[in-house]
Symmetry: C2
Subunit: 549 residues, 2 copies
């Protein structure tokens, strides 16, 4: 493994060296690390190849299931990783990568991450984390206060209380949502009289004890797919995740929510959780949280807000009003690896009531003993890393006003881009940005007129061809390697709720400039112009539509 | 945030700099990073203070729930982290830290981790991970092959198949165990005739359709506490996690397993999963996997093996026979952050049958589209980091024979330590090491004789006092900061199944020497000698016991 060991077989002594002798400063690994530390974007530009290699070709590099029988030198293996892995990775921090919620990272995060990993703390228990445990509790307290703004006395009393939690750190929004709904389910089916609670007796007995015919969770049709996973794992069933209709702005339609609730009650189905989305994954819109909270309260439902992506907006005094009513939520999901600019793996769920987690409390003999402050007593995950340290550092170094500037700049940039799209004759804005996320598509001018004229089969076909065109442009643009937008399927009221494929952009990267946005539209227009066969088909259909009018 | 900005308020320009300008080589953060890279142990020895600060004092440093309204300089904040956090962390990689499963890390992991974090890939989908997706599939393939040793054709066919998975990466063993039992539950209650499966219709309807009165999971009383969490979240109920008795070696008692199974069937309760433990958390023993697999097969139960800690033993041709029968498991949990010497957050579950995950498959419109190779279609978690890269690198750099040397050395060291303990007049070995984990306690010579003479209340009381002594020694030793062993509660047959508090050591750190082990015993003896009040109480009780005989 080490250079001294070139010809020898692996020995215990050479193994000890990898635990005791650091990489030499002139080793390949050290050089790469330095290069990357000095200019990450340059490093990635040089090493991540622009032209997309086919996935099937990449797979060939990763097709050997046999564990190596010979050790590799660190430098040789590092070179191998550069050639096969780094070169074929996605430059998620590129200012032109505006397709997903993964953005650029501040520089200081990288050395801090290394320190965090070297410390290798395990946050499940104090014996393997010590100061990291109070630190994590403080981070949860800070975010709890950002949303709920309880009194100083509240935080003094609960932040470090052994039997309470203001929330839980977890790997991401999915586990955060599942944890919130787990708490909600267990509170809805809690111990009562002779019944010892769903956590002890299971869901089947709980349902018989409470006399419900089914349970249900309500969320708008724009809810995140992780909620289906939650309904599945919790034994609720995906059919019982009830999709509430949305209005023209992709927000929960209150009238339909009321209708669905009364339908459920008529069928003796217990709605135990209502979910508001604060920044939908596909359109970035925010549900009418205050009204939903009031309905949840009236119905004695747990009100959860999935603010995995949009929650960071609370950092901005100028824009936090968009989440009005979020403070009424029983629980809130927020991902620090989205708009708090932290690396992957920093999800959190917050609980309004510090006592909420008592229904998921668990203990063991060698750790998590009763009365201990071990964080693992109230988390879905067990062993966990000290990710909270990075959130703590970023909140101190960037500070709330710093985040405010970032959030405001992103929202303004999205408004600018929406405006730019609207001014183009051959683009159509599909969803207006409420936060920094918007959707649009390319529609040739002639096709726009034809769309308004067309009816029946012609209309459906033109719509389908435009969907194919959007899909083609999105794939081609990604493959060309210069920029990346994602795509999704929406059903806009304007187009009679027909399946509509759209480009989706998330403008959280502070390095994305207006000229990059213009260039992205230009590139899409250019790809569209060169898609001859599809364009020909569209043109022929347009002629038919014109002829029949 | 940057030094140029000392007096100014936060501005968008200064924020852009933290995304574009790296830390200067002479900054506090860069210096610390270099120091740590050059000698991690020295760095930790210098910065982690030996004398334990009280948790309540540490909490004072982390008690402010208010988000900072002013930015901090990176260097200032780094110094603050050193003073309050790093200094009060646990030196998990110290050779004398032998209390938990967190061990030393090879040096090359640290720069590689930094590269992994800088790349900030999201493994939920190919669009944000690209080559990382096939890499993760290869790592799962390599570990699958290590356990199941299927043919080359098997891996060629399944490793990169879109609709299949040989396993799933996850944050740790808890999520791995939950994922395995989720698959098991959904397969036990799968779609059938008009019933569309528990995943769609929920557990209550599934139970009525299948006509069971309850479901059950069976595992020995030494099973990990995460299994109770799994039973809770899956709606099975913790009461239905049936604890099978263990024999004198902490292994599942087959006779009791058979008895429990027939009891369940008589009550119309469906046992859908049997769990074998390969390396129990508290004693390190391995269940009779082959016999358990045969019983599971006969009963049409899912057979899961929790090898989170012990699974790495498969790397050693000399010791893998200890896990005989593991290849018959339907699913296996293994944590790379335990005996594969990787940092926290590298759990995995493996599935024998590549089709097993179809019952937990899920899709969305903007990612995980049907037919895509997005890993997120078959994982409990959503967004995830590229941790698989570190496992891949370690397997190549260390190689299988390297891991074999490490595993064998750990087991031999545990045998040596067991022998050393047995030779002491005032220590008692409680559980013999099968892998590198053992338990023991300190019992003064006189007390040992008295224990064999005592009966009734005297015996109970002496036992209780010895438990207090063990607890005292363990806490005192941890607080003194030189070394750390953990403690747990066992019920050894030898002591009439009375609650017995024991020291627990895990000898996986290759840097732990024989002299460190001797010093740990010496320190414990010394602490015991100075525990005057408890020793006096024990001595007085011994006299009473001697008098009454």
């Amino acid at each position: 493994m080490l250079s001294e060991n070139k010809t020898a077989d692996v020995s215990f002594e050479s193994l000890l060296r990898i635990f005791t002798v650091p990489e030499a400063p002139d080793s390949t690994l050290s050089r790469i690390e330095t290069e990357l530390s000095q200019n990450l974007n340059q490093f990635l530009r040089e090493h991540i190849v622009a032209e997309e290699k086919r996935l099937s070709d990449i797979e060939k590099d990763f097709s050997d299931p046999i564990l190596p029988e010979k050790p590799s030198f660190v430098s040789d293996h590092t070179q191998h990783l550069l050639d096969t892995l780094v070169s074929q990775s996605v430059h998620t921090s590129a200012p032109s990568f505006i397709g997903h919620m993964t953005s650029a990272l501040p520089y200081f995060i990288m050395p801090l991450s290394k320190i965090m990993i070297a410390l290798n703390q395990n946050l499940v228990k104090i014996e393997t984390s010590k100061a990291f445990t109070p630190l994590e509790r403080q981070v949860l307290g800070m975010l709890h206060r950002l949303f709920y703004a309880e009194s100083d006395a509240f935080y003094t009393k609960w932040m470090h209380s052994a039997k309470h939690s203001l929330g839980a750190f977890c790997s991401g929004g999915t586990i955060a949502n599942i944890t919130a709904l787990w708490v909600a389910r267990n509170n809805a089916l809690k111990a009562d009289g002779t019944f010892r609670g769903v956590e002890s007796e299971g869901l089947f007995r709980a349902m018989k004890y409470y006399g419900y015919d089914d349970l249900a969770i309500l969320v708008s049709e724009r809810g995140h797919y992780s909620l289906r996973k939650a309904a599945n794992i919790l034994g609720i069933g995906q059919d019982n995740l009830i999709a509430v209709k949305t209005d023209d702005n992709n927000r929960t339609c209150i009238q339909d929510l009321e209708q669905k609730l009364s339908d459920l009650k008529r069928k003796n189905i217990k709605p135990f959780a209502i979910i508001g989305v604060a920044g939908t994954t596909e359109t970035g819109n925010i549900d009418p949280l205050r009204e939903m909270a009031e309905i949840s309260h009236r119905e004695q439902c747990h009100f959860h807000v999935d603010a995995a992506w949009g929650g960071a907006t609370m950092m901005s005094k100028n824009n936090r009003h968009l989440l009005d009513g979020v403070e009424l939520a029983d629980s809130i999901t927020i991902d620090a690896h989205k708009q708090l600019y932290l690396p992957m793996g920093a999800g959190m769920v917050l609980f309004k009531n510090p006592d909420a987690v008592s229904v998921i409390e668990h203990h063991a003999e060698y750790i998590l003993r009763k009365g201990s402050k071990d964080l693992g007593s109230h988390t879905l995950e067990g062993s966990r890393s000290g990710m909270a340290m990075l959130v703590y550092a970023a909140m101190h170094i960037i500070s709330r006003p710093g985040y405010e500037l970032l959030i405001d700049a992103s929202i303004n940039k999205a408004k600018y881009f929406a405006d730019l799209i609207s001014k183009q004759e051959d683009f159509e804005l599909i969803s207006d940005p409420e936060l920094c996320l918007l959707t649009y598509r390319y529609v040739p001018e002639k096709a726009q007129k034809a769309l308004s004229l067309a009816a029946g089969d012609h209309k459906d076909k033109l719509h389908r061809l435009l969907n194919e065109l959007t899909t083609y442009i999105q794939k081609r643009q990604r493959e060309s390697g210069k920029s990346f937008v994602s795509r999704t399927r929406l059903n806009p009221a304007k187009w009679d709720y027909l399946d509509t494929i759209v480009f989706r952009v998330v403008l959280a990267n502070p390095l994305t400039t207006e000229s990059i946005l213009s260039a992205i539209l230009e590139e899409q227009r250019d790809i569209a112009a060169h898609c001859h066969s599809l364009r020909k088909e569209i043109d022929e259909l347009i002629e038919k539509i014109q002829d029949s009018n």
